[in-house]
């Protein structure tokens, strides 16, 4: 153990240092978001002015743009679809990972990390060549598939940890009372696991919603999602347009996080990351 620095012994100083660190951290995290918000509601913001003049004109501009509307629709269709399909595939798989001992269990579980372990752009290019042959380029299904790749890690690891945290006795007691394996899963295991599964679905949704690189490659030119649209807006429009769109882009994540915050306890998150 290292000795605490001398000033640590002084109570007041320790408090000041603590609060200072907290404020610095808050500024670091919230500062860019605050700037973004200011930009989004700014008409013009030129040098000597500390505060810009308030205006909603960029909102009107963005929301009346047909391409933007299309990308919002695309995102709100594709991300929930990807999350749902991912859940249907991954939750049973996670249950198997949690409950069954089979050869290669650890390796398989680790393999779901592989999509996140390498530079994704290479992966997407090779997926794109595959999609050309399967006629999945520039299709809704192609975009959803790409988004699913990004959800796998969350949808496998967090539910595996959650299922693992549920004592087998609870399931055995249900079998004992006369429930078959399926009824036991749906009436006992699933409800108990629900908070963990909600957290997993939340992360998966955000990962799918946020996906830009792969969707850009697979979805152009007709299946543009919001993050892909962002590239175009940032490159080709005045700064407030990008800010407005950023706010739009982060709204679903913020709303979902607020709705699900009671499930976002450390236990569920930590449970996901143990082999």
């Amino acid at each position: 153990m290292t000795r605490a620095p001398w000033f640590w012994a002084v109570g007041a100083l320790r408090r000041v240092v603590g609060i200072g660190a907290l404020l610095a951290l808050a500024a670091f995290i919230l500062g860019p978001l605050a700037t973004l918000l200011v930009w989004a509601f700014a008409g013009t913001w030129l040098f000597p002015n500390l505060v810009p003049d308030f205006s909603l004109k960029w909102w009107v501009y963005v929301l009346s743009n047909a391409d933007v509307g299309k990308s919002i629709r695309m995102s709100f269709l594709s991300a929930p679809t990807a999350t749902l399909i991912s859940a249907v595939i991954c939750i049973p798989a996670a249950y198997a990972f949690a409950r069954l001992e089979f050869p290669g269990r650890r390796v398989l579980l680790l393999s779901f990390l592989s999509a996140n372990a390498f530079p994704k752009i290479g992966l997407y290019v090779s997926i794109a060549t595959l999609f050309y042959r399967l006629d999945l380029m520039d299709t809704f299904a192609g975009v959803v598939l790409i988004q699913i790749v990004n959800t796998l890690l969350f949808m496998i690891w967090i539910p595996t940890g959650t299922f693992r945290g549920i004592n087998v006795n609870l399931e055995e007691a249900a079998r004992d009372a006369g429930a078959g394996p399926l009824r036991t899963f749906f009436q006992i295991t699933l409800p108990i696991a629900l908070p963990g599964l909600i957290v997993a679905a939340l992360f998966a949704f955000i990962a799918a919603f946020d996906e830009a690189q792969g969707s850009l490659i697979v979805g152009t030119p007709n299946h543009i999602t919001m993050p892909v649209m962002m590239y175009a807006l940032v490159l080709g429009y005045p700064q407030p347009v990008g800010a407005v769109f950023s706010v739009l882009l982060s709204l679903p994540s913020v709303i979902l996080l607020l709705l699900a915050q009671r499930y976002l306890r450390a236990g569920y998150l930590a449970a996901g990351y143990s082999l």
Partner: protein
């Protein structure tokens, strides 16, 4: 006809036999305890009866019908687990009625039965509570209620009270015993606590390293342990290493100053044997062997005396609390009764047991 029959039941985990060749009959209405130290295979045996673990070989019969291939949901057994019994997302009522709802029994009938069984376990007011609002003891009572409402042929209890504090544990086992008597349900109870086993069981099956050692009533188990393990495990026992001598018409054993005749046994000269003596079977007698009193512990209604015996080591003696013994004193002691273990053979030496000075459950 016995209710439950285990025939040559064997279960291996890897190469290790967790349960080896266990054959056991449990009679109708009997409370059978599976007793042994942790890892002796008692829980594995219970789980095989409940259908949660498949035996490698052997058979399980309930009412003469083999259930070895029947999944737990279709066995006429109900289990109360050690921990994590209740489903946390359901109220007590939902927990208890789960099995009946599966069986599609009419709603009023279910409600009546739930009230009945909750009253039986002494929790008539708890039906709307959630498990986390109950104490540990109450939770286990609900677990018992949930098992009983299924009206099983056999009730299985896997160390159900081991997570409760000592006082509550004693009360709960009295309650379970009374309940079991009242409804006359055949019960298999797993415990590592011999006091628990001796106080509630009709018969006890002692297991050690997967092997069934002895099945007997608590009294018989205490008085006539048939293996050295049971002799050592149940109650307190002085075990003394001895040597055999062939004699005309029998054998004799020597251990330090002790010399005991074992009639009717033809044991080879000079082989190893073990003498087992209960502490209450040691008594002070003028013609006994000289030992030194090391420590006298007053345990309330009796004294526990540690004796140092030359060439043998420490011996434990229980005696009446009025006995005038002081530390450092030399006394002469004798055995009223002893058991001699020679290989798999067993001989009783001396007369019937002296009246016990303490209930067996107190000696641990």
């Amino acid at each position: 006809m016995p209710r439950l029959v285990l025939e040559h039941l064997t279960k291996r985990f890897g190469t290790q036999a967790a349960v080896y060749d266990v054959t056991l009959d449990v009679r109708d209405g009997e409370l059978m305890c599976l007793l042994g130290p942790s890892g002796c295979g008692k829980t594995t045996t219970l789980r095989m009866i409940g259908g949660f673990t498949a035996p490698d070989s052997g058979d399980i019969q309930i009412d003469g019908r083999s259930v070895a291939a029947v999944p737990p949901e279709r066995r006429p057994t109900a289990m109360v687990f050690q921990r994590y019994n209740l489903w946390p997302h359901m109220t007590v009522e939902q927990n208890v009625s789960f099995g009946l709802r599966i069986r599609r029994i009419a709603r009023p009938e279910i409600e009546r039965k739930v009230q009945e069984v909750l009253a039986l376990v002494g929790l008539p007011q708890a039906s709307r509570k959630f498990p986390h609002q109950l104490s540990g003891g109450e939770q286990q009572r609900v677990a018992v209620a949930r098992a009983l409402i299924l009206e099983p042929q056999i009730l299985l209890l896997d160390e159900p009270f081991s997570n409760l504090d000592a006082r509550l544990r004693v009360r709960m086992r009295e309650e379970v015993k009374q309940l079991q008597r009242a409804i006359g349900i055949t019960t298999v109870f797993v415990t590592h606590d011999q006091e628990e086993a001796l106080t509630i069981a009709d018969r006890i099956a002692v297991m050690h390293q997967g092997v069934l050692q002895q099945v007997d009533t608590p009294t018989a188990l205490y008085a006539y342990p048939r293996t050295l393990f049971v002799a050592d495990f149940i109650g307190t026992m002085n075990l003394i290493a001895a040597r055999t001598h062939a004699e005309p018409g029998g054998a004799s054993l020597t251990a330090g100053p002790w010399n005991l005749a074992v009639p009717d046994r033809t044991w080879p000269d000079g082989s190893d044997a073990t003498i087992a003596v209960r502490p209450e079977d040691l008594f002070v007698a003028p013609d006994g062997v000289v030992v030194e009193v090391r420590r006298v512990v007053n345990l309330g209604h009796y004294l526990q005396v540690l004796l140092q015996c030359p060439e043998v080591g420490e011996l434990r003696m229980f005696t009446e609390k009025g006995a005038a013994l002081s530390e450092g004193q030399r006394v002469h002691v004798r055995f009223a009764r002893a058991l001699a273990f020679h290989g798999s053979d067993l001989a009783e030496i001396g007369g019937p047991m002296r009246p016990t000075v303490a209930s067996p459950a107190d000696r641990r």
